[in-house]
Symmetry: C2
Subunit: 322 residues, 2 copies
């Protein structure tokens, strides 16, 4: 088995080998800029790890892995445009460094580049992989639309929220694992268990992200603490707080959401979360989905497949403090 570090180094090198210094520069340079910005390359790593569990020639699946990473970065590029987020990984977003039209068109081309990487797959596996990829791409757009819709709604339930983050975040991790397994020739039931593992770990990951947005260490989290509270984002924590609060606290919470002093608002809402034990509830949910994910791996382990790499990755993703 390859180590995760070896796989991640291979991904970095393969991404760097893609040439974006070509005409028309106005179309391709923003793609190169977006892809060189870094990130943990979790999605392509998951695909190659899953492949490696069933077939030692994991480099064979590089183009499929890169397709997922390019598609993921395309979604970030268009999301930043739609959210008018000025920064991404400490650098100006594409619509800021260039302009909104460039973000639209280079983003479109980036999605096409993901499909171009897929066209390199073996002909006999292409139909299954393209179908899986299209399903994932559709669900990510649906998740993004629900995320937008939720801003205008006051009746979002925990179930609605979990479904939204499943679509927007978890499906991509799940698809990476399933596609890697299928490309390596794994049994269908293993590929399905890995899909479930990816879904559960994705949900745990996003809930942990919501938790860290409130309770993270400002020195290591990478984003300002309290961002979700500041913009009234209907996360698991806020929805649960409304659900758990008595009438008096609910009114209090509602009033704080209307407060324009961000610093005071973040402090007060966090205080209410503390009172209601939302931090503990959220951590329990992270644990719940992590345990479900581990159970998915146990199913595969019992058949004699080595799942160590995914177990340690699951540990890292959900026990992280940044």
């Amino acid at each position: 088995m390859e180590t995760i570090t070896q796989i991640q180094q291979h991904i970095q090198k393969s991404l760097a080998d893609l040439n974006w210094n070509k005409q028309p520069l106005g179309l391709y340079q923003p793609i190169g800029y977006t892809l060189e910005a870094g990130g943990k390359r979790i999605r392509p790593a998951l695909l190659l790890i899953a492949y490696n569990m069933y077939n030692p020639n994991w480099q064979t699946a590089t183009d499929a892995a890169l397709a997922l990473e390019v598609f993921h970065n395309f979604t970030l590029l268009h999301d930043d445009l739609m959210d008018n987020a000025e920064q991404r990984r400490g650098r100006p977003s594409v619509h800021i460094k260039w302009n909104p039209n460039t973000a639209v068109l280079s983003g479109d081309q980036m999605m096409i580049e993901a499909y171009k990487l897929l066209q390199n797959l073996p002909a006999e596996q292409l139909k299954v992989c393209l179908t899986l990829f299209n399903q994932m791409a559709t669900e990510i757009c649906e998740g993004q639309q629900y995320d937008v819709d939720f801003e205008q709604r006051n009746d979002v339930t925990v179930e609605d929220y979990m479904e939204m983050i499943r679509l927007k975040t978890a499906v991509l991790l799940a698809t990476a694992l399933k596609m890697g397994a299928l490309l390596a020739g794994a049994p269908e039931e293993d590929a399905e268990a890995l899909y479930q593992f990816g879904t559960n770990i994705g949900l745990a990951f996003q809930l942990k992200d919501d938790y860290l947005d409130v309770y993270g260490d400002p020195a290591t989290f990478g984003k300002p603490i309290g961002g979700d509270i500041a913009c009234n984002k209907k996360t698991f924590m806020l929805i649960t707080a409304f659900h758990k609060a008595d009438t008096k606290t609910r009114i209090e919470l509602q009033q704080w959401l209307a407060c324009t002093n961000k610093e005071k608002k973040i402090k007060a809402v966090t205080q209410i979360y503390n009172q209601l034990g939302i931090d503990r509830i959220c951590e329990e949910e992270v644990q719940k989905y992590t345990q479900k994910a581990i159970a998915n791996l146990d199913f595969i382990s019992k058949k004699g497949v080595n799942t160590e790499a995914l177990r340690s990755l699951a540990e890292k993703l959900t026990a992280r403090n940044k």
Copy 2:
């Protein structure tokens, strides 16, 4: 052989059968709105006509034909956003009727829908068709980028312009024909000749469009006459006018381009075109590319393939007055 009318009716019906009334509505309704707006459905018709030239079961290729039509409409949706064009086919554009973010996200989903239609192709033909489709999609984005770049440049040659419209317009017609032929099992050299026919007829079509933008009948053209002149678009006609003009006329033309009175400007520039015979030169170019296209068909006709449908379509597209 099916008639073009029968094929176009089949396309209309197949497009209408796609269901966009699904959740989340905010994502899918703008796609339905865009596709129901009409248009001549030339691209899917070309694919099915090419298929029908080699195989009577042309309905088999419906999903491939729809993929091209959906992709084409996706490009119109994002182009209208980038150009801030408020209308499309007499109705508000998506970014006007909804908002710019909806245009971005529903446009993205529309591109994915095109790839979802492709996934239905027979597994043994998918790799070739996906590769062809991706190449086309890339070239359309490159064409759009060159079109944007040309606005800032003063050294655009006729060759540059022809290459830009080849990428932005002709490649999609060429790909439709080639894909239809390949799906029907046509010989590679026939598919290639049809690709060349599509390219030449696409160039003739766009030059005719540029011509009609100046010399068309306002009652039938569908867009206001002189739009290209009003916004200083570097079309074949304007580039050729600068090339043919003597120094005095060139200075005069340059001055008129800076004029803010659109009506006067359109009249004056048209007058210069008339003096220089640009109308005749443009019509000759349309004829030149139409003849090249006909020669591409002759190559196939000699092998006993019936090319009548494409001949009559070529006639319609380039002899049109609207």
